[in-house]
């Protein structure tokens, strides 16, 4: 179900509306409606339910969700569409996660495409920014499948589709602690004879403690 949502060019943009759970897809007509409801609910999981999502909508209106007035999220998404980026995924993070406001993941068709997109975004940022804003660098220039740029309140990741499938960043950032990859990596539990504060000596790591 979740996979089907990524099949086409998908864009999530929350819009403040009367109902709490307001999430509508942008113009490209081949978007599916149902998975967006699921993703919006999942995004609210960190806060807890539709009420928190309504509060997030309001805060988005009031808080400065732009890097600075001109270079905001709409501008970034318009540039990406202009660049023929595939599968644009914009995730708005709740203000509890103090990482950034918007988390963007973009696929490209080839390594050159990713590099071109990243350099173009950086060029537009430099063109529009004031002197008081911090400089930004492109990270991952020597890789061929994953580049990213951190613009302060917006973080963008450019990946190839295979890399995107491996890391599944959308799942991690929308589901938070309920992510299934996270659930798979922590099957370890404390053994019955664990005493807090008592450290074993160095030879103990040879025995299996389960």
């Amino acid at each position: 179900m979740w996979r089907a949502a990524l099949a086409g060019c998908r864009l999530l943009r929350p819009v403040s509306a009367a109902a709490g759970l307001a999430l509508r897809p942008e113009p490209p007509p081949r978007l599916a409606g149902a998975p967006h409801g699921g993703c919006a609910a999942a995004r609210g999981t960190g806060g807890g339910g539709a009420g928190a999502l309504g509060a997030v909508e309001e805060q988005r209106r009031q808080a400065a969700d732009t890097v600075f007035p001109k270079f905001n999220i709409d501008f970034v998404v318009a540039l990406l569409r202009q660049e023929n980026a595939k599968d644009i995924c914009v995730i708005q993070l709740p203000p509890g996660i103090k990482y950034c406001n918007y988390f963007i993941i973009v696929s490209g068709s080839s390594t050159r495409h990713l590099h071109a997109m990243a350099h173009y975004m950086l060029k537009m940022y430099k063109h529009h920014k004031e002197e008081s804003d911090p400089h930004t660098q492109i990270e991952g220039k020597e890789t061929d499948d994953w580049l990213c740029i951190d613009f302060g309140s917006i973080v963008m990741h450019f990946m190839l589709p295979e890399t995107r499938e491996t890391y599944e960043l959308e799942k991690l950032w929308t589901l938070g602690s309920y992510d299934d990859q996270l659930a798979q990596i922590t099957p370890q539990s404390l053994p019955e004879d664990f005493i807090f504060g008592l450290t074993p000596n160095s030879s103990d790591h040879l025995e299996t403690r389960t």
């Binding site: 103090k98 020597e142 951190d150 890391y167 990859q181 403690r209």
Partner: protein
């Protein structure tokens, strides 16, 4: 806070709570790999050790790249927490945590289970990818 204070001696990979040594990471330090990569999580009879620190001084702090010897192979890694107390408003961890990365900077694992210090964002370097696969920040 309980997550930081809880010692890691419960897992079958536990080896790092040996002495109360409070130094940062240097050569021959035993480290703990905190991502879900296969190389970091399969048990081996020797713990991963640092064999080189990519730094002018040989001491690695949070955000430095080091070279690890894991399972008989050399692998680069990024330090995400150490037992040595740093500047006052930064977290101190109970184990020397490390995330495996490739030579081109991509993380080897896909998720990180421990908290990651937020100061990585301020530092010069390529940390956005590690922050993107992290679960929570400290």
């Amino acid at each position: 806070q309980g997550l930081l204070r809880r010692s890691l001696s419960h897992s079958f990979l536990s080896f790092a709570s040996i002495t109360g040594a409070r130094q940062a990471i240097q050569k021959l330090t035993r480290v703990r790999v905190v991502d879900n990569s296969a190389l970091g999580n399969t048990p081996y009879h020797r713990p991963p050790k640092c064999i080189h620190v990519y730094n002018k001084t040989g001491v690695g702090k949070v955000g430095d790249t080091i070279l690890l010897a894991i399972k008989g192979e050399k692998k680069k890694a990024l330090i995400v927490g150490h037992k040595m107390p740093g500047p006052t408003v930064t977290p101190r961890f109970d184990s020397n945590n490390v995330v495996l990365i490739e030579d081109n900077g991509n993380p080897t694992g896909t998720r990180i289970k421990t908290p990651i210090p937020y100061i990585l964002r301020r530092r010069e370097g390529e940390f956005s990818k590690v922050l993107a696969i992290a679960r929570n920040f400290v």
